[in-house]
Amino acid sequence: MSVIITKQLAKAYIDGPNTIHALQAVDLEIAQGEFTAIVGPSGSGKTTLLNIIGGLDACTSGQVFIDGRDITTLKDKELTNFRLQHIGFVFQAYNLIPVLSARENVEFIMLLQGVDKKARRQRADELLLAVGLEGQLHKRPAEMSGGQQQRVAVARALAAKPRFVLADEPTANLDSESTANLLDIMARLNAEEHTTFVFSTHDQRVIDRARRVITLQDGRITADVYNG
């Protein structure tokens, strides 16, 4: 069964006399273990789509099923808890709590989930090792490079054992080396742990790494391609 299904998803913004159709009739299915890029020109609706799938924003019409459950019907409090338990997030930048170390940032989400201290610590260290930051456990975000910060964010997203990870332009602020590095890590986690990744990007090098590329234009899916 698909992890994510959207049905006739639409999002409209009323802007004075104009209505902006950020998303229109988006039908989408994403299966367990996919490594999918959402691409499209600026303003095409990538962020809007990811936000609605992630339960951060409400749609105007349509439905979003996560593991068969329609999240558009969830109440606000349930939705927050749903995000905590089932969805991992990596944002473009400033993902981390500045006053917490790398390890504490990863532990924090497990604290919210009520994982006990010992298990938290162990999983945080494992994940930071997996993203190649075993030497940076005690560093605060300001003491790390942008690439390292994004790797911590990936570790944090995975710490919650989510059904999938949403990443809105995770490499937008990174140089090409860090970008390649982050993609390597995400691809490896995808291959080894079957973690489902959905990410948006403008970057051709990132698009090339995706196994499925969904193109949006003016809020509609105009192409959906599997790269072998």
């Binding site: 927050t80 400033y94 500045p98 006053v99 604290l111 989930q113």
Partner: protein, 405 residues
């Protein structure tokens, strides 16, 4: 970890935190010192007057308080003095005879309050030995008097001199006599120091021709005891009719109301002080929340509930307030202790005017720790209450909007 996070969060802006802590410090410190001085001074004032005059509690024939006539004098056998003494808070149960007379020495005459008391019985609770400036306390059998130092000075009396007392006694009999000054006592309270003569009970009874009768029984209790509670407990020992057990607030309403009035003035100052710092703290809280909208957005997005976010803000604010409060208590403690040991004494005109109103011209500090704790608590609670606005606002946080820069 939430506490640790809150703690680190408040130090993100060191300067702002230090300023806020400083404001809390000033408020708690000033209010604690002010309140300690105020309460300490009242305490001292009450204890220095009430013990000698009305007593903390007093048994009297009903109506005596409105008409202090010697004709209402009664026999002390009527009530169970021993029973009253059983209460653990009671320090002394002492029969007294109070009357009025003119006192003359040489060419000078003054209207005086005459208090007849059991010197042996009340020596301890009144700390009479400590009050002696010159002479020695008369025994109960000795037909002598004790006068305040100021009275002695005004009339030109010394130990060994004899004071003429002239007044009206029991059932309109003439009260007159010549009494040798045995001791000159120094009282802080101007009323006692200038207008009162103490003498052994039996000689007062002789002066006023009351026989064995007394006018009232003074019950002094521990100053720290709860007045009304003890009053209530002791009422049971009195005969059902004819007698009243009154407390000093009822017996000396002027003093009580004076203190209440004075107190409200001090409270107003503290209130204004609190208002001023409340604004400062509110500003800090607002800055703390507005500058962290993005972060709140991220935290809510990854699954931290808004309520938890708002709670963290409350914890941060409470930490700020507690930090200031703890520092101020640490600094206030030695200051209060200092003023406790070295009371502030006024001189010159201020002193004169205070004396003329019947108050001692000095301020004492109470070392009651509860005063400081109360101030600290109030400031902390105010700070936490100030979180209400951002707390409510945070409940409307939309992660997408918050993260839009």
């Amino acid at each position: 970890m939430i506490l640790l996070l809150a703690w680190r969060n408040i130090w993100r802006n060191k300067r702002r935190t230090l300023i806020t802590v400083m404001m809390v410090f000033i408020a708690v410190f000033l209010s604690t010192v002010m309140r300690s001085l105020q309460l300490g001074t009242y305490h001292h004032m009450i204890d220095g007057l009430v013990r000698y005059t009305s007593g903390y509690l007093q048994v009297q024939p009903t109506g005596y308080d409105d008409d202090k006539s010697l004709d209402r004098a009664w026999s002390a056998d009527t009530i169970d003095l021993q029973g009253l003494k059983q209460n653990r808070q009671v320090e002394s149960v002492a029969p007294r005879l109070e009357g009025f007379a003119l006192g003359s020495y040489g060419k000078k005459t003054k209207p005086l309050s005459i208090i007849g008391l059991d010197v042996d019985l009340e020596r301890e609770t009144l700390e009479l030995n400590k009050k002696i400036k010159s002479g020695a306390l008369p025994s109960n059998e000795q037909r002598g008097i004790m006068v305040g130092q100021k009275l002695a000075e005004k009339l030109g009396l010394g130990v060994g001199d004899s004071l003429v007392l002239l007044g009206q006694g029991y059932q309109a009999q003439t009260a007159a006599g010549l009494y040798r000054v045995e001791a000159i006592l120094l009282f802080a309270n101007p009323l006692l120091n200038e207008n009162t003569v103490f003498m052994p009970l039996q000689w007062a009874q002789e002066l006023f021709s009351t026989g064995k009768r007394i006018t009232h029984v003074v019950i002094n209790i521990s100053p720290n005891a709860h007045l009304q509670t003890v009053q209530h407990q002791l009422t049971g020992f009195l005969p059902n009719v004819g007698f009243s057990l009154l407390n000093w607030q009822e017996l000396n309403p002027e003093l009580y109301q004076g203190i209440q009035g004075d107190q409200s003035g001090g409270m107003l100052i503290i209130f204004i002080l609190y208002m001023v710092i409340a604004f400062g703290i509110f500003g800090t809280i607002l800055m703390m929340t507005t500058e962290r909208q993005y972060e709140y957005g991220v935290l809510n997005a990854i699954g931290m509930r808004r309520f938890a976010l708002a709670n963290m803000l409350v914890i941060e604010t409470a930490l700020l307030a507690l930090l200031g409060a703890v520092v101020s208590l640490a600094v206030a403690a030695p200051v209060v202790a200092y003023f406790h040991h070295y009371p502030i004494r006024f001189s010159g005109q201020a002193a004169e005017s205070m004396n003329s109103m019947g108050f001692e011209a000095a301020m004492y500090a109470s070392t009651d720790f509860v005063i400081g704790i109360n101030q600290a608590l109030v400031v902390t609670l105010i700070s936490m209450a100030l979180c209400a606005y951002p707390f409510i606002k945070l409940q409307w946080l939309k992660p997408v909007a918050a993260m839009k820069k």
